[in-house]
């Protein structure tokens, strides 16, 4: 029976590894809501895949990437604050996706599996997708790491010092879009951002450098995925919430540990 768990474990591990550095930037750049919006648009991607008879992952990747580019373009206008804009796109795309799915009678889709993740839905093909994304995304992340960090500290300063800020930001957004596409089956649309943000936030307590935080987030993420999937397997709980609850516990424990350490140091 344990063989059935392997695809989810492998895919989950790959996703958590990527979510570490990507999620750390999401925390530093205050983009949690941004990530949520992209994830919510994933449902529209599912719809697109079903209607056009595409691979699910491809459909989601197309829509999340398109949304990332749209958001990038829209951020240049100043008439609406960007969180309002995100709200419109986030809930709009979620609602449209739901409606289309509800009206297409020929299609039977496990909605709760999409929203909260279903580890049994993960198959060998998904593992290959994650592996492919990992092979592309990790080197790209390594290349944009330093410039993206400079942009995060101060965009104009980075630009004045010769960094192609817009190109780097677009590459980062596309990486997030791709990770969301492959993560959806395991953690579900509503909880993907949690997998990116909570391990990063938890790793903050232990880190003195950006790299420590990103790496710590990856390691914590992998541990949470394994613990969460294991728990989900044993108790029949949906996999997404199981992983997220594990991550929240890790966050709380590390917070407590760091507080105690600080008290002791100040004594």
């Amino acid at each position: 029976m344990i063989e059935m768990l392997w695809p989810a474990l492998l895919a989950g591990t790959g996703i958590a590894l990527l979510a570490g550095p990507l999620g750390s930037f999401m925390v530093w750049r205050r983009m949690a809501y941004f990530g949520d919006t992209m994830a919510h648009s994933g449902l529209l991607g599912v719809t697109l895949a079903v209607v056009l008879n595409l691979n699910l992952t491809v459909g989601i990747a197309l829509v999340t990437t398109a949304l990332a580019l749209l958001l990038f373009g829209l951020q240049r206008q100043r008439r609406l604050p960007s969180d309002t804009l995100l709200g419109i796109l986030s809930h709009g795309s979620l609602a449209i996706g739901m409606l289309v799915l509800a009206f297409s009678e020929s299609v039977r889709i496990d909605l709760s599996g999409l929203l909260f993740g279903d580890l049994l839905a993960v198959n060998r093909g998904d593992v290959l997708w994650v592996a492919a994304i990992l092979v592309v995304a990790l080197p790209v992340m390594a290349v944009i790491w330093r410039p993206l960090l400079a942009i995060t500290v101060h965009e104009d300063l980075a630009r004045a010092e010769g960094i192609a800020t817009e190109r780097i930001r677009i590459v980062y957004l596309i990486l997030i879009a791709l990770v969301i596409a492959v993560a959806m089956k395991i953690v579900g649309i509503l909880l993907i951002t949690a997998l990116m943000i909570i391990p990063a936030a938890a790793a903050r307590w232990l880190s003195k450098t950006p790299e420590q935080m990103a790496l710590g987030a990856s390691v914590l993420g992998v541990i949470c995925v394994w613990a969460g999937l294991g728990g989900s397997w044993l108790t029949n709980a949906p996999s997404g919430p199981a992983i997220v609850v594990t991550a929240v516990i890790a966050f709380a424990v590390l917070l407590a540990v760091s507080q105690v350490r600080q008290r002791l140091a100040n004594r």
Binding site: V27, W28, R30, R76, R78, R146, P147, L149, A150, T152, V153, H154, D156, L157, A158, R159, A160, E161, G162, I163, A201, R204, S207, K208, T209, P210, Q212, M213
Partner: protein, 250 residues
């Protein structure tokens, strides 16, 4: 570099951002070893002008000429770094420009803060942070230092010290300095040329003469002009500019 060739020269420079004209018709030259200060009310386009010189914004009209292979050190307006980002002073200094620890310490020594090298940036005081950013701008051995409100977030005594430090850096390293300031009084002591900006350049000159120009009085009011005139008079008697190796251009 000969005096006759400016390091930075803007002619009839105009910049539009998002369809709005921020500055237009700006003429500005920065020569080697010169301290030029940009003053002007809020929204006058001071930061926009500076960022255009640095290549952050595109030139919409006019001409911008930089001396060949010019290195510019830039210190932006006071920045705040999110608490969630664990970043030491060393990493901040080497974000875009890799440098050995010893080189970073040397740069920090120029602004009297070498001991801060391993401090998390969020733990720095306002004055310490500005000194770190100044050292950061110096790290590349720049020909021109561009400083946008270098004393923002610094207490009054710190301000005086920081302006002195900037002047000392010019004297010791001979680099040109272009800075933005709100602070009329302090800036006058440590500058060779004042450029007063309000969308366009409304007046320009040595600090001693600019306060007598009607455009200046119009922009800053008689009270300021008088105070500054008094100040520069007082300052002449001190001979502090001459003592510190400064010079005045007309």
């Amino acid at each position: 570099m000969p005096r006759t060739q400016p390091l930075i020269e803007a002619r009839q420079l105009g910049v539009r951002l998002g369809g709005e004209t921020i500055i237009r018709n700006v003429n500005l030259s920065v020569f080697d070893g010169q301290i030029v200060t940009l003053i002007g009310p809020n929204g006058a386009g001071k930061s926009t002008l500076i960022k255009t010189l640095l290549g952050v914004h595109r030139v919409s009209e006019g001409q911008l000429t930089l001396a060949p292979s010019l290195t510019i050190g830039y210190m932006p307006q006071r920045i705040s770094i999110d608490d969630s980002l664990p970043l030491s002073v060393y990493r901040l200094m080497t974000l875009t420009h890799r440098a050995a620890r010893t080189a970073v310490i040397d740069a920090l020594r120029l602004t009297d803060v070498p001991h801060l090298i391993d401090r998390p940036v969020q733990q720095l005081s306002g004055g310490e942070f500005q000194r770190v950013m100044l050292a950061r701008a110096l790290l590349k051995q720049p020909d021109v230092l561009v400083l946008d409100e270098p004393v923002q977030g610094v207490d009054f005594n710190g301000e005086v010290d920081l302006y002195r430090l900037i002047q000392r850096i010019r004297d010791e390293r001979g680099c040109a300095i272009l800075m933005v300031s709100h602070d009329l009084h302090l800036v006058m002591a440590a500058t060779d040329e004042v450029v007063c900006l309000n969308g366009h350049v409304c007046c320009t000159g040595a600090p001693e003469t600019i306060t007598r120009q009607p455009e200046f009085t119009q922009l800053f009011g008689h009270k300021h002009a008088d105070a500054l005139a008094f100040y520069s008079h007082h300052h002449d008697h001190n001979h502090s500019l001459a003592e510190q190796g400064g010079h005045v251009h007309d």
